[in-house]
C-alpha cells in the first residue's frame, strides 16, 4: 500500500501541524477530529482523565485501522494519535484525520477512524472525580 499512514502513542497531542501533515497535492481536503477532556460526565464534575495503554498492541491496532480506512476509501494520508497519562479538562487526548481528493472520502474515513479506535484499540480511560475514580465502560 502506497498511502502514507502515521500512528502514535504520545504524552501529549499537538494539533497545530495536523493539516500541514495531511497536506498532499492530490488532496482537495482534509478532515480531522480531536477528542478533548469534557468537564462533566452525567453532570458529575471531572477533575482529570488518566489514560493507559498496552502500547505494542495499540500501535499495531492503530496501524491496522489506518490501513483498513485507506483500503475502504481513496485517501492520500491518514493520521491516528492518542495521548497517555493524566489529562485535564480541554486537553486533547486523541487526534485522527485523513486527506483525499474529494471531501466525502475524508469525512467518512475520519469518522471510521475514531469510531473504530474507540472499539478496538487497547487504551483505558479512568475518570477521576472529586471523591472517586472510575474505569470507563468497564462495567455494564
Amino acid at each position: 500500500m502506497k498511502k502514507e499512514t502515521n500512528v502514535g502513542i504520545l504524552d501529549a497531542i499537538d494539533a497545530s501541524q495536523v493539516f500541514a501533515e495531511l497536506s498532499h497535492p492530490l488532496s482537495g481536503g482534509s478532515c480531522v477530529f480531536v477528542g478533548t477532556v469534557r468537564e462533566f460526565t452525567d453532570s458529575e464534575e471531572v477533575v482529570s482523565l488518566e489514560f493507559e495503554t498496552y502500547k505494542a498492541m495499540a500501535l499495531k491496532e492503530m496501524k491496522k485501522i489506518a490501513n483498513e480506512a485507506a483500503e475502504k476509501w481513496k485517501l492520500n494520508k491518514v493520521i491516528i494519535r492518542h495521548a497517555v497519562g493524566i489529562k485535564q479538562v480541554e486537553e486533547p487526548v486523541v487526534i485522527v484525520g485523513a486527506s483525499s481528493a474529494h471531501r466525502d472520502a475524508c469525512f467518512t474515513a475520519c469518522r471510521y477512524l475514531i469510531d473504530t479506535l474507540k472499539e478496538r484499540v487497547p487504551i483505558w480511560k479512568k475518570e477521576v472525580f472529586k471523591n472517586k475514580s472510575v474505569w470507563v465502560s468497564a462495567h455494564p
Binding site: G35, F51, E52, T53, Y54, A56, M57, A58, K60, H82, V93, V94, I114, L117, K118, E119, R120, V121, P122, I123, W124, K125, K126, W135, V136, S137, A138, H139, P140
Partner: protein
C-alpha cells in the same frame, strides 16, 4: 505462564501481571485462561467484556497458548 494486566484488570489483581504455575494449573487455551482467571478473581465476571491478546493481537477463544506467547488480558477498552 505470565499474563499482562491493564486498566481495571490490574486493579482487580493488584499487580501488572499474573503468573500461572506450569503444569496442570496452566491454562491451555484462551477460553480456559478466561475461565481460570474468573475463578481465581470473581470480579472479572462483573466486567462488560473480557478479551485476550496473544502477541499483541486479539486472540480467539479456541487459540492454544504456546510457550513464548506474550499474553495480555484486555478489559473493555475506552480510548478516545
Amino acid at each position: 505462564m505470565e499474563v499482562l494486566l491493564f486498566g481495571i484488570a490490574r486493579d482487580i489483581v493488584g499487580e501488572g501481571s499474573f503468573r500461572f504455575d506450569a503444569g496442570e494449573s496452566a491454562p491451555g487455551s484462551v477460553s480456559d485462561l478466561k475461565e481460570k482467571l474468573k475463578n481465581i478473581f470473581p470480579e472479572f465476571r462483573k466486567l462488560s467484556s473480557l478479551a485476550v491478546a496473544v502477541n499483541s493481537t486479539y486472540a480467539e477463544d479456541g487459540y492454544r497458548l504456546k510457550d513464548g506467547d506474550e499474553i495480555a488480558i484486555i478489559p473493555p477498552v475506552s480510548g478516545g
